[in-house]
């Protein structure tokens, strides 16, 4: 792609709590950051897995929910105006002749960064695949985990699987477009918004949507084209004739493209130097759950510590030859100016 790359001091991969705090720590030492995340909003696991669940081990916050922690970290990072790039994943990382790193996302966004901070937690969230042998052959052709163009389902028989908002919302959206929409879920209760559930059930009552209780067990078809999905429900095995399968079974974490970047790894984690949190590649840092070192604990508070040390070392790379004077946020007038509290 010929687009001009986004030039930045730091590129942070992952907008979870540690990535967000890294914005703050880097900001204190005058390093501005762009942040990329595969989700469509900040918070990472805190927002995706347990937004409402309490966390009890954040220093000075006896109890805080995943969402509140995220909100507070965003508030704290605001003085440094991070620029977010959501819904994309960094696929490649290449070193340029001038020492900077060129990274490219799956959407084709290119970043040219002096330092790259990998704060990707347990990896990137990706849709769960129904554990059916041979499903790979159908993916992208008649099995889709996200929908880009609704009209591509016109005249087709669509089977939607799942019981959350995605499954319900797409049932409602595709019902007028597709030739036939079947919704399959393992039980009669749904996780989705009650209003949406009621509308789907109304359509089912009118015979406009087929609702089946069951779980996918197999796929029939050839050359990537589905003909039917085999399922099992309380009353035994059955087939649902369909051209398209849309599974909405939630997200799972996968380490993703990071493993191909030539970083030293140990048991699926990135090895770092504990003094700097730099990886085996110069200028590439890894902080939070994704890294490993002797004594590592996967705690949010450990990630915060790692972000601070990383930032101090990154300063030497972004501003070579400049001496970094260690300062406290409580008393430093130059920090107060940066935070807008002077």
């Amino acid at each position: 792609m010929a687009e001009t790359p986004v030039e930045t001091d730091a590129l942070i991969i992952g907008a979870g709590p540690i990535g967000l705090f890294a914005v703050f720590e880097l900001g204190l030492v005058d390093i501005r950051a762009h942040v990329v995340d595969i989700l469509d909003r900040p918070g990472g696991q805190c927002a995706e897995l347990y937004p409402e669940k309490p966390i009890y081990d954040i220093p000075a916050l006896p109890v805080v929910s995943g969402q509140e922690l995220t909100d507070r970290l965003i508030e704290q990072s605001k003085p440094f105006a991070p620029q977010f790039h959501f819904g994309q994943i960094i696929e490649t990382l290449t070193r340029c002749q001038d020492g900077r790193w060129l990274t490219v996302s799956d959407l084709g966004t290119r970043f040219l960064a002096r330092v790259v901070v990998i704060a990707a937690g347990g990896g990137s969230f990706q849709p769960k695949r129904p554990p059916v042998p041979g499903i790979e052959a159908f993916e992208g052709r008649s099995v889709f985990y996200s929908i880009r163009r609704m009209d591509s389902f016109a005249g087709r028989r669509v089977l939607i699987v799942g019981g959350g908002d995605s499954a319900l919302d797409w049932t409602l959206a595709l019902q007028p477009v597709a030739e036939k929409v079947t919704l399959m879920h393992r039980r009669e209760q749904f996780r989705g918004a009650p209003g949406t559930v009621a509308r789907v059930m109304e359509l089912a009552g009118q015979g406009k949507v087929d609702f089946r209780l069951g779980q996918v067990t197999g796929l029939h078809g050839h050359d990537g084209q589905l003909e039917a999905v085999a399922a099992r429900g309380a009353d035994g095995e059955f087939d649902i004739a369909c051209d398209v399968l849309l599974p909405f079974l939630g997200l799972t974490m996968k380490l993703g493209p990071v493993i191909d970047w030539g970083l030293e790894l140990e048991d699926g984690h990135i090895v770092v130097d504990v003094a700097t949190f730099e990886t085996s590649l110069p200028g590439i840092f890894a902080i939070g759950d994704i890294n490993t070192y002797p004594g590592k604990l996967k705690l949010i508070l450990s990630g915060f510590h790692e972000a601070a040390l990383m930032a101090h070392h990154a300063h030497g790379i972004v501003f070579p030859g400049e001496r970094l004077v260690f300062q406290y946020t409580t008393s430093s007038s130059s920090i107060h100016k940066k935070l807008g509290v002077a």
């Binding site: 897995l49 347990y50 669940k53 959350g164 393992r186 039980r187 996780r191 939630g250 799972t252």
Partner: protein, 106 residues
């Protein structure tokens, strides 16, 4: 101490001594029982500690909560006796509990 037995898909049985108050997931992780992943660390947020409770024990363990049922939607091959082991708390009453781990945790 109550004993909990985990049977894997190949039929291998592993009996561990569980502590009253910990969860069946924690007892498994502490004793390195394979087949239970517990990605989220016990927050009932990932459905990777799915087990099938042996028929003799389903009455004692009771039913899944609404939150747990919601998470079970994300598990693989969910059955009548499916539970998330992070939501099963060990008590003296559960001494002898037998659970089977599924073919996969997604």
């Amino acid at each position: 101490m109550p004993k909990v037995t985990y049977i894997d898909q190949d039929g291998a049985r592993r009996e561990v001594e569980a502590q009253v108050g910990e969860t069946v997931m924690e007892a498994a992780v502490r004793n390195q029982v394979p087949g239970i992943e517990a990605d989220c660390g016990g927050a009932c947020a990932c459905a990777t500690c799915h087990v099938y409770v042996h028929a003799d024990w389903t009455k004692v363990t009771g039913n899944a909560s609404e939150m747990e049922e919601d998470m079970l939607d994300f598990a693989y091959d969910v059955r009548e006796n499916s539970r998330l082991s992070c939501q099963l708390r060990v008590s003296e009453e559960l001494d002898g509990l037998v659970v089977t781990t599924p073919e996969r945790q997604f």
